[in-house]
């Protein structure tokens, strides 16, 4: 009787284990890092591969939900930003410890913030917080409460903490003691990285099961996209984060359930004319490029629908401006993409004194309108876009030479010699906040590509953009900020210093055995909810 009871008890335990094992807490998720991670120190992260590791291993106070784009509590239960935008008070969860068992408290947050702002460490993550001169002040109110005061208002202060992985002030394992769902277990430089689940991870699901569901993640370092694709097809990989449209279609043709098009991403492709006054271009060309009417006409003569449909096989949308429609809060919904209309473009040019002669557009002094578009070689999408634009502009008599250059030469022309006429490039946006684009819009900035480092704004509209960007940056009121940035988007649309072409869609692939993944447009597209992903 007694023995039998014991036996059945053992069996039920075994069954439990098997069940648990089959559904959760088992399996290895595999995907690729496209380059070698440069650092495991979360504050020093600059490259994509290191950011991936930070995302998977780091614990943060608040996290922006990549799907809803709303900020959610993590290690902080709640938080409050002061009116002036300088101070934030976090209320922390208790009873949490790092992966090595060291308990987590407000001291760790204070330590991390001090490190973050330490000028000697020069943390790239810290740059977003450095809005003015002076020191950051951290005050530990209690083990679960901390106030952080910055010398100047930081725009979108709470959002910025999404990037700040909390480090332990005391653990002997330093940055290898983590608060995130996974921890680094093994690293073979040049080959792969193995992450193991963090046994001390604090989060549980609605049923009270410990997260994450999976045991480990294998990250293979593989820069070659063809190989990545091949291995995915052979079931050696579970996820592909950003997929080329060609691959997307090829894979989708075979197994449509594996590919996901999450719609337009934050990334944009654009071209712009050289408006630098001291550039070595002839005066008449400078006059074209500095003319708003010329830029708008060129913009109107470009068939963006065709670019999206042909070059990206429909996996892109005509772009409106510096903010992608995917950026739910900040996008100015009143703006629509420039409509394709070569006739209007030609009329506008004729109104400016240009005229058509035997299929060639000439300016009022008789100079044929010829310019070159340079783009970085090796990017076939950009080369194709440039070739299609070349064809489009031929219709209004504008002759374009397409030149592909190696990246260093292109950058040299773009930032040093200003010896170029037009450039076609893309811009990758990681964050949603307009402050992240500050360096592009301020006329004094050296990233103000069409005319960098202006001593004083050279045009009225650039002066207005400067003013609006400063306004939104110094305000903590989201509504006011939105108003200002909406206006910036309008000015950019009207003046067309950047001619926005398309927003590429976020394309990804998820293997059939992966459950709970729901790819989004924000980085990291496929595994943003990694702790809730499980494997069949």
């Amino acid at each position: 009787m007694c023995t039998q009871h014991r036996k059945s008890f053992l069996i039920s335990i075994a069954a439990c284990f098997i069940l648990a094992g089959s559904a959760f807490g088992q399996g290895e998720l595999r995907f690729c890092l496209r380059s070698e991670p440069k650092t495991f120190e979360p504050l020093k992260v600059e490259d994509e591969a290191s950011a991936t590791i930070r995302y998977l291993t780091g614990g943060v106070l608040v996290r922006m939900n990549r799907q809803t784009q709303a900020l959610e509590p993590e290690l902080a239960q709640s938080w409050k930003v002061s009116k002036d935008g300088k101070q934030i008070i976090f209320k922390l969860r208790s009873g949490i410890s790092f992966s090595d068992g060291t308990p987590f408290s407000a001291e760790d947050v204070a330590y991390t913030v001090q490190q973050l702002m330490d000028p000697a460490l020069h943390s790239p993550t810290g740059d977003a917080f450095r809005s003015g001169p002076g020191n950051v002040e951290t005050k530990i109110i209690s083990p679960t409460q901390i106030s952080i005061t910055f010398p100047a208002p930081v725009a979108g202060l709470d959002h910025q903490f999404d990037q700040v992985a909390i480090m332990s002030a005391h653990s002997p394992k330093k940055e290898m003691a983590v608060l995130g769902p996974f921890m680094v277990d093994d690293y073979k430089p040049g080959a792969s990285l193995l992450l193991k689940r963090n046994p001390n991870y604090w989060k549980t699901d609605e049923q009270g099961r410990h997260l994450p569901y999976i045991d480990s993640i294998r990250l293979d370092i593989q820069p070659n996209r063809d190989v990545e694709m091949l291995r995915f097809k052979r079931n050696e990989l579970d996820l592909i984060n950003t997929l080329d449209s060609e691959y997307f279609d090829k894979l989708g043709a075979i197994s449509p359930q594996l590919v996901h098009d999450a719609g337009p991403s934050l990334d944009s492709e654009q071209m712009w004319f050289n408006e630098v006054a001291k550039s070595p271009l002839p005066a008449y060309k400078k006059a074209w490029f500095r003319s708003e009417a010329f830029r708008r006409a060129i913009s109107e003569a470009i068939n963006r629908e065709d670019l999206s449909r042909v070059v990206f096989r429909g996996h892109a949308q005509p772009a409106v401006g510096p903010v992608s429609p995917a950026n739910k809060f900040w996008f100015n919904a009143k703006l629509k993409p420039e409509s394709y209309s070569p006739d209007t473009a030609l009329k506008a040019l004729q109104a400016e004194g240009f005229r058509m002669e035997n299929g060639t557009l000439k300016d009022k002094d008789g100079n044929a309108v010829v310019f070159s578009i340079i783009t970085n070689s090796g990017n076939k999408y950009r080369e194709r876009m440039a070739t299609m634009i070349q064809d489009d502009l031929q219709k209004i008599g504008v002759h374009v030479n397409v030149v592909t250059l190696d990246f260093p030469s292109l950058i040299e022309r773009m930032t040093q010699s200003f010896d170029y006429e037009a450039i076609l490039l893309g811009l990758t946006n990681v964050g949603l906040d307009p402050n992240e684009q500050m360096n592009v819009w301020l006329s004094s900035s050296d990233n103000h590509q069409w005319n960098p480092s202006e001593k004083a704004p050279e045009t009225a509209w650039e002066a207005e953009i400067d003013k609006l960007m400063r306004e939104q940056a110094s305000s903590a009121d989201p509504k006011k900020r939105k108003e200002a940035f909406d206006r910036v988007q309008e000015i950019v649309f009207e003046e067309a210093p950047f001619i926005y072409l398309v927003n590429r869609n976020a394309l990804s692939a998820v293997a059939a055995n992966v459950q709970g993944a729901s790819p989004v447009i924000l980085v990291p597209q496929t595994y943003w909810n990694v702790e809730r992903i499980s494997l069949k």
């Binding site: 694709m229 449909r309 070689s377 299609m388 070349q390 064809d391 030149v403 592909t404 250059l405």
Partner: protein, 274 residues
Amino acid sequence: MRIGRATTWRGAACAVLLLVAGVSLAANWIAPEGYAKQYREAADAPPSHAHWLGTDEIGRDRFARVLYGTRISLLLAPAAALLSTLMAALIGGLSGYLGGAWSRAAMAVTDLFLSLPWLFLLITVRAVLPLNVSPLFSVLVTFLILGLLGWTSAARVLCATSATLRDSDFVRQARASGIGAVRLFWMHVLPNLKPVLYAQFWISIPAFILSEANLGILGLGVAEPMPSWGSLLKELEGLVSVGEEPWKLVPLILLAIVVTSFQFVLARQEEAAA
């Protein structure tokens, strides 16, 4: 019998070359729409009645592009190969024949050439060239550069070969017949360098065709929308499933056929000379 068969092969090779050259020269008539027209509604289409080899990624007729590309590459690659072969013959062959300080100097120049950071020099070339050049000019310059740079490795071989030739019995015999130095080089040394020269020539052709495409990375080479074999071959890069779209391989197959034909035709010349 054996000779007969070889001759048929060579005849066939000649015919193939003539056919390819002829058809590509007639591109204007065969494909009057030209190589640049974008059929955007039918991008990346498979072969059809309208587009015999389908269309490329932005809807350009691949057959037309192959024709015009052939014209560019088939004309320019052999010209560049000829240039580099002549330079190799002159620099390598002559210096080896003259020997002594000449050959040391020539080999030093060759070493220098081989050790120069070409990437940077080519970047400089691109930087010096204006941005607004026609696609044809760009491709001409590129092949010229290839021709002017491609002689080095062959020159080393030729220098060594002609140095041994210089000390050979038949050259001594010829000198003893009173034949002058220039004539000696021309009639007695050069013909014996022919195998190396032929090899240099026909290896250079495909090498240059591919290099032209690769120089596109530096903004040299043919520019859009003009096609060359190189730019057509670049289409194959990262082609995921060749098996499903074999027509995309046509430029590659054509290149292989043409290079092989060149080899056959040259082999005949070589034998005739030997």
